[in-house]
Symmetry: C2
Subunit: 412 residues, 2 copies
């Protein structure tokens, strides 16, 4: 693991004006509060750019930055155990630009950092600004995943941030120049976070030797799919590191599952509704394990965002659905599969030794073209990890970037 696992120097963490924020990040003060007023159920804050925030009393009390453990910054105040009515006695903007709230009952005083407060404003406009939409793509807008040099990633946190942001936003990226060692894929994953071991092990091999005498069928095309749809916790990220590739075919193939979902939604709202609401059955049919799961093929969370797709024809179990929906569900499935097999949604590219493809296994479908005629070997080494690790690493890199700016005197 890199130096990010080392505690950040305390000096980097002291916020301006000596105001605590209740966490370990630094918050730029892009705007100052010009007024604070006590309303019936909220505290109204006016900012120097005209923006208005309104914070409910329990929200403010819950987020008091001094009511945390001094070392861990974990909350020690328990709202559920509060004995007094939660209502400010008075509020003001202090000399140093903080929002100060004195609470009735116990008289506790809370001071809120202006940068922290603005970043957590939950007005409709502020919430909309924070939304991070995936960058949908198809063959007309993307030819291959963004590429990054492994040496540059290791040497420069800004490059690492670009690399990981690309995976977050487009669902994929390729590292070039990774060492040709058996453990390299684990090292690359380990830079992001904790690997996810499965019944296939911590690392696994995708290795096919074509036989120049008899064209065996081990080099067949693999149609687009997601790995381990049979698991409740389908792995979020997959890494595939190329050690050998001298076959004629064997191109890697990716499809943006969200792009296909969007297409289906536009073309057949009814099919889209069926695939987002009704679960399908997946089963792994192995001799030594028996993983099964049922879930909609297109996952949507309670905010209406896509959470992932589950696709793998050969890992489906017998559909267990309400009788009257069975035919329509099959039609919807065929429509989704039909789209994902169209060339206009697929990108194809060749992995060379030293390349490591990383992709979001819950968003993208992956596959490969047939290995083609003639002799040759193709050996990829892979592993899984979860999206949490990518997000945590990105958050840490963002936190460090803010700290570097402080050290350089550029703010916050």
């Amino acid at each position: 693991m890199s130096d990010l696992t080392e505690p950040v120097d305390r000096a980097d963490l002291v916020p301006p004006h000596d105001l605590g924020t209740g966490d370990f990040s630094l918050y730029p003060i892009d705007h100052a509060m010009v007024a604070a007023a006590l309303e019936d159920r909220t505290v109204r804050v006016e900012w120097d750019d005209g923006h208005v925030s309104r914070f409910h009393f329990p929200w403010l009390r819950d987020n008091c930055p001094c009511c945390v453990h001094p070392y861990t910054q974990e909350q020690v105040f328990e709202l559920a155990a509060a004995v007094h009515e939660i209502r400010p006695e008075d509020v003001l903007v202090s000399d140093v630009g903080a929002l100060e709230v004195r609470w009735s009952g116990d008289g506790h005083a809370s001071r809120y950092h202006p940068g922290w407060l603005r970043e957590h404003c939950y007005s409709e406009g502020s919430r909309r600004e924070r939304l991070l939409a995936p960058v949908l793509w198809d063959a007309s807008t993307r030819a291959r995943p963004d590429g990054f040099d492994w040496g540059a990633v290791v040497a420069d946190e800004e490059v690492e941030l670009e690399w990981l942001s690309s995976i977050r936003d487009t669902g994929c990226a390729v590292i070039h120049g990774a060492p040709l060692t058996d453990d390299a894929v684990g090292e690359i994953a380990g830079r992001i976070g904790v690997l996810r071991e499965t019944n296939f092990g911590r690392l696994f091999d995708v290795r096919v030797d074509t036989d120049p005498v008899s064209n065996s069928n081990t080099g067949l095309e693999l149609p687009p799919h997601t790995d381990l749809p049979t698991r409740e916790y389908q792995p979020g990220l997959q890494l595939l590191h190329c050690l050998v590739n001298d076959v004629a075919g064997g191109l890697s193939l990716l499809v943006d599952g969200y792009r296909v979902a969007a297409e289906l939604r536009d073309r057949s709202p009814r099919f889209y509704e069926l695939l987002t609401t009704h679960p399908w059955d997946f089963a792994n049919r192995s001799r030594t394990s028996d993983y099964r799961w049922r879930a909609p093929m297109i996952g949507v969370d309670s905010d209406g965002n896509w959470t992932g797709v589950r696709v793998g024809n050969w890992l489906r179990g017998p559909l267990d659905a309400p009788f009257d929906l069975v035919e329509e569900l099959y039609e919807a499935y065929r429509a989704f599969e039909g789209l994902s097999h169209q060339a206009r949604f697929q990108i194809r590219f060749r992995l060379e030794p030293g390349d490591c493809l990383i992709f979001d296994n819950r968003r993208l479908l992956h596959g490969r073209t047939s290995l083609g005629p003639g002799a040759g070997r193709r050996h990829l080494r892979g592993c899984y990890m979860d999206r949490d690790e990518l997000r945590s690493r990105l958050n840490m890199l963002e936190r460090r970037r803010r700290a570097r700016k402080v050290v350089a005197g550029q703010g916050p």
Copy 2:
């Protein structure tokens, strides 16, 4: 790992009448088909107990047991690639009691095993029979988790099945007589399946030494919570193996989160609705990682079943919710927390050295009472794994039980 990871002897897997089933399980033939008829969009099957099944054409074609890879049993037929209309030419019940379907177009013939077919019937009644509801409990119906002897679990698969079924149904169980070694908790978990490593490592320690001179605050009560609510993939199972426990207090505490959810649903449908549909923010506020996730506190899947609860006051981040819902969300949260703190929902019990508590970390809240006055040490060693592993192991044990019955001549 145990012998279950070894391939089952082929002889155990041959179904009666030499009919394939498309997977590695055996299916008891409790009922015979007495008639099969071709309807407009379905095949109608009548059974000897009067039950009627109706299977849609694409469902039958999709599940043809011969259209699988002969070794892996994975499906090779791709419905999405089918060129002919999917419609039987004719259907019949064969001499050996199988459903035979001859398909128009390519003339392919499919033969369905009666036991397999009955088990996968998706009539409303059959689907209802397959539902597996959690056994809700509170302090009035349960005093402590079911107990199992480690030696007996290792020696007898029937005991192992009981142990794992208890975890599945009640959310918890205690192993007694586990070895007092550092690796025992990993061995117990490894019997079930693959461990889940986190940023806390593969195994972790929960160790508190009370100081007999100054009563330090490291032995404080831990209120009921779930671990790692900050992760999108909150761990499904937690194991806590007791190596040392000679403190006065330090009782383990469990709450059935589904029981509390049911109580909230009965007492305040509006609060229940809010907690099942609106996400809360969780954040781990660590110096070396930055995991965050937002999800409803009570998770419900597309079938309406609970998927888990997320509760941890000190791991919540600032709530990011629509302005008009903030106050009500806080009220709902306080109601849920208030219930989970009531003694009538909590069971308390003492873990002795050699005990290993296993519980569903997404269903149960856990905590501990304060360690109490006086000298003493309490050392638990723990690990996480996911529910998938428990379910897979249970499926394998069920599969083996069926195979044992065949060998013993009791069926299927």
